[in-house]
Symmetry: C2
Subunit: 318 residues, 2 copies
């Protein structure tokens, strides 16, 4: 992955993906004990950063090429919206236990949804590959795809321009397979080398943090059981992990309760709706300040698609 | 009020007030039956557009001038934050029945809060004038102040640049005393005369709509009893009404239930946290489409400061 590839992706998605704002609040600064800068990707088209990578990938294909994707939801919505924008077919393979809202949104965006049994051990990779071959569709992986990583990296290009010049240090990124983290890491290494990506995961699903510690790709024991469904993945990506090993700082992990509390703070202090998996980086900034250095921290609030009941649960903690 | 005064205000608040994004969602377009463009002022500093007018006014005063304001909450937070930014004293007179969060926020932003009994008939105007005189503070009115109106008008300048060139027709604005509506109306008359402001109020508190119909300022029977506390005012402003009479289209009004539903849609489809009074314009776009003309409508989502219980109540309707 190169900065040039990310700049090319930025050109492909320009005018369709939103340049999301970087928000601040003195109340968040007080909790974190330092200045907190929050890049608000729930405000992105389809409610998460995934639209960037999806549109980057779909628009890199020859005109008219239909696509297929497997996803717990945000990548699904991103690919569905990108395909609709480009006027091509989209088939999405989703776990049957994904939030109802994500499944409904994906269908409403014009995609055909195929459900599979995640807990029962069905392999979305196998299903995706079979349908792609059968119907002649191009498979767009959620993170192990250079065009997807380049698209997510546009978050880093924007951050480099949006953050005040005196901000350095940690950039906390909600991390599943590592597409967003690795893309931002490459963009920042080129534009703002004083900023360093650190992946944030749910406790018990911290495969990237443990892999970074070990220097090799290690998997999770489970692939369900967290409310942070958007970022629960089996093992770091083949393409993303070498990038993170080279450029990222150590990982952080947060509990479900901390993710819920960060969701509540994002609503209360920034007026942004986040989902649990999209709030783990903010949770780390607020509740693990002892593991962060410097007088400022940057956070990617990565997505906001969850059921109302989950948001209500988060608000009940205030 | 002149476009030049609004441009001067834009210069005074530049770099401190945020240029808030204009958001869209195909799901909202479907409900409204036309394209919907939403200017998201809950993402403004202090969670509402009021920071614009407050900073415009405070920064127009001689350096070091302390200020006082009376407000149901959002103007209070705006003035408190603006005064803190300028390093001057702020005293805020607030109704004792304002949302607890707004009172707490105003204090946390460094202002001194004086509570009064709104339902019991105490006059905030009398209290504000007395304290201002006694302590030598400059009174910043929530809407009947040229510098405040000019500050709110910067929303209109931004809209003129942000909206696609083919968008014309109604711009629905949440309306209390008329500061935001009149400021935007002046800005748009100068920059995009094909766009027309229409004020939106709660049913039963539609003093501006009735005044526009009558051609003269008419008051409301009550000044409490709506969940849209932010925009319940006794009578259209002396400065704002003549502007609206000249430039605005007819008013619209929505029920509390419609405002709550619009709050829920703003969270679900835009990931923005709105308060009831800040969501009435979106409610009108979604639920009174028969009273709007054209293939597009623009909405100001004006603020997002409410207690968690109110947000939970809105979410329960989804």
């Amino acid at each position: 992955m190169t900065p040039e590839a990310i700049r090319a992706a930025a050109q492909r998605i320009y005018g369709h993906a939103r340049r999301t704002p970087v928000l601040t609040s003195p109340f968040l600064d007080e909790i974190a004990g330092r200045r907190v800068f929050v890049k608000a990707e729930p405000l992105q088209v389809t409610g998460s950063f995934k639209f960037r990578g999806a549109l980057s990938a779909v628009s890199a294909l020859p005109d008219g090429t239909g696509v297929i994707a497997y996803s717990s939801g945000n990548h699904a919505q991103g690919v569905a919206a990108a395909a609709a924008l480009r006027g091509v077919t989209a088939v999405i393979v989703m776990p049957a236990d994904a939030p109802a809202l994500k499944i409904a949104n994906t269908r409403a965006l014009g995609a055909e949804v195929l459900l599979y049994d995640r807990a029962g051990g069905e392999s979305r990779e196998d299903i995706g590959a079979a349908v792609a071959k059968e119907r002649g569709l191009h498979l767009i992986r959620p993170y192990d795809d250079p065009d997807v990583i380049a698209g997510q990296g546009t978050v880093g290009l924007e951050l480099a321009e949006q953050l005040p010049g005196d901000v350095s240090g940690d950039v906390l990124v909600c991390c599943g397979g590592g597409g967003l983290s690795s893309g931002i890491a490459v963009a920042l290494a080129d534009t703002r080398p004083d900023l360093r990506v650190r992946p944030v995961e749910p406790v018990g699903f911290d495969d990237v943090a443990r892999s970074l510690d070990a220097g090799e790709r290690l998997g999770n024991d489970r692939v369900s059981g967290s409310i942070c469904d958007a970022i629960v993945t089996p093992i770091p990506g083949e393409l993303t992990f070498p990038i993170l090993k080279r450029l990222s700082g150590p990982g952080l992990s947060v509990t479900d309760e901390q993710a819920l509390s960060a969701m509540a703070q994002a609503w209360l202090r920034l007026k942004v709706g986040a989902e649990p998996g999209g709030a783990v980086a903010l949770a780390a900034a607020l509740y693990h300040s002892d593991r962060i250095e410097g007088d400022a921290v940057t956070v990617i609030l990565s997505g906001g698609n969850c059921d109302p009941a989950m948001m209500t649960r988060a608000l009940a903690g205030l």
